[in-house]
Symmetry: C2
């Protein structure tokens, strides 16, 4: 039996996906097909969305699971009429919140992923540009503007983590690769010494590094398990010696690495 | 009166922030202070979290607003005892879902932002690397592997959109700048012609481009309103002539641009 999960929204659909996904991951994976229907922002679109959902239910032979984030009362009402198991996020929580905050909600669609506040939005885009300009030690100018400088061996997850920190949290993160090609990893590179209060280390299991590097440069010294073991040993010794906070990123997602770093360093997260 | 909003989670806190933020943006902005407390995954941490919340409420003189995504029943119970207006995401929806799916939830913490499925996770990281390698026309190799190629004038939002498409949706997006420095914008660059089925155009208001470019290169020809007007006019004419789908990104967030593009092109979104 195939069953379909719909994420329906009057905006981008990202909130609906995030919340629906969080709930679905609480159940053991069975064969759910996922489909997002964003920008359902008129009664006409709501009606055709209901048709799609109902038709899918008939094809599947089981009623779909539908997660809705819609604030328009007319659209909401039409959507709730579909033949499905519907979870409506806003109508579940908004009435109690209106009561608590003693004001009515604005019922404005798609607010959470729109440019609600221009200043904080461009702040985030600036952080993305900062991460790009300071990726992989490309530029060490403006390190004084960095909130954080990630250091670690090649392929330990520095680049995606910096980009995620910028995109999700508006944190300006640079990253600098520690390599033992230049021989000496027994001390911090001179460039980094004056910014040691902003350093955070990433390390990884040598076996996993070997696997990732082998996909990029199969058979190279760079990718060899021996080299990966050597680099990890050296880098971890350096982190201990210099008392640099560090984590092993091997089994962690970018979200987990980024959140853990901010938590460890007591840094503010800007949520947008 | 200052009031504090807490996002509490046994994992990264990202789902809690997404939920709370989506709900709070439905109310006109007043002076809420936001604080995320992630990785609350033991009874001890739950108890100290309750203390922080209660203490904050006493300082503020008004009970805090608390969004909780915790699946551990013991932690949940402790957290629900705080002196605050609490919205508990999982306990609100999970019972009905267990009923509908006719199975019990796994009560595993932090699932939605962990590496639940290694294959889809590395697929997403690969997409980020693809976006970086094919940013700003840097490399035109492997365009045949691109799901999408964004084209547009400088500073129309191509780079952050490609990175977001990769990070959030696992879409492999390259981007290629259209400039009139090389004179002729009356036809598609030869490089792009064979990939026209994957092209999507971004355009922007000349006034906004002028503003952004002036921050980077004040007083330059590149940043002048005249130059911005010329480029936008030429690029929009090209999009029309070549019938390339395009949108004006001026007042849109990266999330909106990315979602709109996938929607316009009927592309699949991978939600993680």
């Amino acid at each position: 039996m195939r069953r379909t999960v719909f994420f329906v929204s009057d905006g981008t659909g990202i909130t609906s996906e995030t919340l629906g996904h969080a709930l679905m991951t609480q159940f053991e994976k069975t064969s759910y097909r996922q489909r997002t229907l964003p920008f359902v922002d008129s009664p006409e679109k709501a009606r055709s969305t209901v048709e799609i959902i109902n038709e899918t239910g008939r094809e599947d032979g089981v009623r779909p699971i539908v997660f809705v984030t819609s604030v328009n009362p007319t659209c909401q009402k039409i959507l709730l009429g579909c033949q499905a198991f519907v979870t409506d996020f806003f109508s579940t929580f908004i009435p109690d919140m209106e009561n608590e905050l003693a004001v009515s909600s604005t019922q404005s669609r798609g607010r959470s992923h729109a440019i609600a506040d221009g200043r904080s939005y461009y702040f985030r885009i600036d952080a993305v540009n900062f991460a790009l300009q300071h990726d992989d030690g490309a530029s060490i100018h403006h390190y004084e503007d960095a909130d954080l400088i990630l250091i670690g061996v090649s392929r330990s997850g520095k680049t995606p983590t910096c980009l995620y920190l910028a995109m999700q949290f508006g944190v300006r993160a640079a990253n600098y690769p520690l390599t033992s090609e230049d021989g000496d990893m027994s001390a911090l590179p001179t460039t980094l010494r004056r910014y040691r209060d902003r350093l955070y280390g990433l390390t990884s299991l040598p076996e996993r590094l070997h696997q990732i590097r082998s996909e990029r440069r199969p058979g190279s010294v760079y990718a060899s398990l021996k080299q990966c073991r050597l680099e990890v040993r050296e880098v971890e010794a350096l982190f201990r010696l210099e008392r640099i906070m560090a984590l092993n990123s091997t089994y962690m997602s970018v979200e987990e690495i980024a959140s853990r770093i901010l938590h460890d360093r007591g840094m503010e997260r800007h949520s947008f």
